[in-house]
């Protein structure tokens, strides 16, 4: 700023004496504006890989939105069921099929506990809370066929989905990654045998595996995780193998070998850090698949046993009374859709953040 003033002073001075030759002043050789407003090129070369990836990730709006939704759903899945006095299995048959009613908001006309029912005499607006004389009862998301609180059940269901998500990620990492890396690194006969095993596993439909598993195991979380373990790891192992094939002939790997590094050292400390980008991306993409698989299994009745619930079983229950009480199916569907969408968005953002070349193509 200070230079600007000097400059104008010099300019007016010059304008006053047009006939005289202009004598340059010191201010002429200084920047007019040399303040923080001038955008300076960030020197990305000086940043570390992770720092750079982090910056790219937070600059991507869709990925950040996905991230925020995942965080919100996670918080509600942890805290949500404890926010009211109901439990996920508590039945109150005298309070069944009540529409959503939220204290405070009820006076606006929304979430006031009323619903429109179709009867033989045409449409009729009913409010179960008044009919049954329950002025102090609030089911935030309504109650289901057995008088259970849908709010509590939705978030317990989300909890199951998130546990499945974590399990899927761990399975991908531990089994898929290790299998793919070892198969790719050793190559030759090892690779052929391992790939044939993978193809055989891949050939058996997931539903068949789960149904067969249910013959030996009780339905429940463990069974679903085992089912995922048997089927989820394959796409990850393929990616890991492909990346390994690409990298294992690179000179830095040869350099490690000439230094006497063992196979495990090369696989896990030389090559793994170089493929962590695609690996993380693949993990994030496999999470929605796993969540959906669980929901699907629950929907067809092979998943979590009652009275426990998952998003899939909630959708299945809501589906039965969808035509009469549509509010019962909406919360689990919205949470489920948001969860899948968010994981996909985050995965996409991570892919671009970890592999910047991808975007340029």
């Amino acid at each position: 700023m200070i230079f600007k003033k000097k400059k104008t002073a010099a300019a007016s001075n010059a304008a006053g004496n047009v006939s005289e030759a202009y004598v340059p002043v010191d201010a002429d050789f200084e920047f007019i504006e040399d303040n923080a407003d001038i955008s300076i090129d960030s020197n990305y070369a000086a940043l570390g890989f992770w720092h750079e990836a982090f910056l790219r990730f937070i600059n991507k709006k869709s990925a950040m939105i996905g991230f925020v939704f995942i965080a919100l759903i996670t918080i509600f899945a942890i805290a949500g069921p404890n926010l009211n006095s109901y439990t996920y299995s508590e039945q109150n048959l005298s309070e069944k099929n009540l529409a959503p009613r939220i204290p405070g908001i009820e006076y606006t006309g929304f979430f006031d506990g009323s619903e429109v029912m179709r009867t033989t005499n045409g449409f009729k607006k009913v409010n179960g809370y008044f009919d049954k004389k329950l002025p102090t009862t609030f089911y935030w998301f309504g109650s289901d066929n057995f008088g259970r609180d849908i709010w509590t059940r939705t978030w317990s269901g989300a909890r199951v989905s998130l546990i499945i998500a974590v399990a899927a990620a761990v399975i991908d990492m531990l089994i898929g990654l290790t299998y793919g890396l070892i198969s790719g690194y050793f190559g030759g006969a090892t690779d052929i045998v391992m790939q044939r095993i993978l193809e055989i596993c891949n050939g058996i439909p997931r539903l068949v595996i789960v149904t067969l598993l249910l013959l030996v195991l009780k339905p429940g979380m463990i069974t679903i995780v085992i089912a995922l373990m048997l089927t989820e790891w394959m796409s990850m192992s393929r990616i890991a193998r492909a990346e390994m094939l690409k990298l294992k002939e690179r000179e830095f790997v040869l350099a490690s070998r000439t230094l006497g590094a063992g196979s495990m050292h090369i696989i896990f400390s030389e090559i793994l850090p170089n493929i962590i980008g695609p690996v993380i991306t693949q993990v994030m993409f496999s999470i929605p698949t796993a969540i959906f698989t669980e929901a699907f299994l629950s929907f067809v009745g092979l998943g979590i046993p009652v009275p426990q619930c998952s998003l899939g079983s909630l959708i299945s229950e809501g589906f039965n009374s969808f035509t009469t009480h549509p509010y019962q199916i909406i919360p689990p569907i919205i949470v489920m859709a948001l969860l899948m969408l968010s994981f996909n968005l985050v995965a996409d953002g991570l892919r671009e953040a970890l592999d910047p070349k991808m975007k340029e193509q």
Binding site: E251, F252, L254, A255, S256, T258, L259, P273, N274
Partner: protein, 315 residues
């Protein structure tokens, strides 16, 4: 000047090394087909030849990145050609090191320079404390002309010449007796090539390591090598001391190679003609050739008739 004692046992003795790669049932690539040479402690052996002649394969077989198909490799008194004992492997991985061609590809992009150079130390546990490790790495950085601060930087933050110095540091930190330099200067531009080669020479003066210097740049090989082997199609067609090869090339392939070197004198360069050489039409069969002594340490691989023809051609 360093003195090489040729009466001693050679550090590396390669006898009739064969390295074949089976592509499929009917087709085998004979990358190296019966190569013999020796390297004495402290000397630089230059291996030259065109692309695909098997230079790099020789280097990689010697350091056992490949399993040799046939032949014998004796390194520092140990046979390293077949199945090696645990102790031999350990010895080999410490005493023989390699510098790679592409300075970018040979450094792990996710590791910092300290970890890249220290990898050998880590694997062989050749330090007692973290401080000792850091001190060793810093000392070697200084030796190759890099600064101590570079220890925490990543490969992409260096220029090509600096990266190659990191590669050299990684090889030298183990105090190797033999360094295989596999086209270690071909990816650098000429001024940097000179820097790197001079660095290698200085280090040789200081530590007495031997080099197997693999290159296709003949003038650079002439500058750094004591003895030279000329490789063509997996056969070592001619070998001898630097002067013997450059002053009196006998094999037509060697003469063709040498005639292709540009001279800095523009008048001489105008009249320079490269001698063409085509193996298929030359009527020479490398497989039939045996080593014929020309003089001193100068050998040519050929049959008796071929040798006669070569010497006549020269006149």
């Amino acid at each position: 000047m360093r003195k090489i004692d040729y009466t001693k046992e050679p550090l590396l003795k390669v006898e009739d090394l064969k390295q074949h790669f089976k592509m499929n049932r009917n087709y085998t690539v004979k990358a190296v087909d019966g190569v013999s040479f020796s390297i004495w402690p402290g000397e630089t052996y230059g291996l030259v030849g065109e692309s695909g002649s098997g230079k790099s394969t020789v280097g990689r077989s010697v350091i056992r990145l490949y399993d040799p198909t046939d032949g014998k490799i004796i390194f520092d008194g140990d046979d390293i050609s077949g199945k090696m004992s645990r102790k031999t492997v350990e010895d080999l991985r410490v005493k023989m090191q390699m510098i790679f061609q592409d300075p970018m590809a040979s450094l792990n992009p996710r590791k910092n320079v300290g970890d890249i150079i220290g990898e050998g130390l880590d694997i062989h546990k050749s330090y007692k404390s973290r401080d000792e490790r850091t001190a060793k790495i810093k000392a070697i950085l200084k030796k190759v002309g890099l600064a101590e601060e570079h220890i925490s930087r990543y490969p992409h933050q260096f220029s090509g010449g600096q990266r190659q110095r990191v590669g050299i540091a990684r090889a030298l930190i183990m105090n190797p007796k033999l360094v295989i330099a596999d086209e270690c200067i071909s990816a650098l531009d000429v001024s940097i090539q000179a820097q790197v080669v001079n660095l290698m020479k200085d280090i040789q003066e200081e530590t007495g390591t031997a080099y197997l210097f693999i290159a296709h740049d003949l003038s650079m090989v002439k500058y750094i090598s004591d003895r030279i082997g000329v490789l063509h199609l997996g056969h070592l067609v001619e070998m001898g001391s630097k002067d013997e090869i450059f002053d009196n090339p006998v094999h037509p392939y060697t003469r063709s190679l040498l005639s292709a070197i540009p001279t800095p004198n523009p008048i001489a360069e105008k009249t320079r003609t490269a001698i063409p050489y085509d193996y298929a039409s030359s009527g020479i069969d490398y497989r039939k050739g045996t080593y014929h002594l020309i003089d001193g340490t100068h050998y040519v691989k050929c049959t008796d008739e071929e040798l006669k023809r070569f010497t006549e051609d020269k006149q």
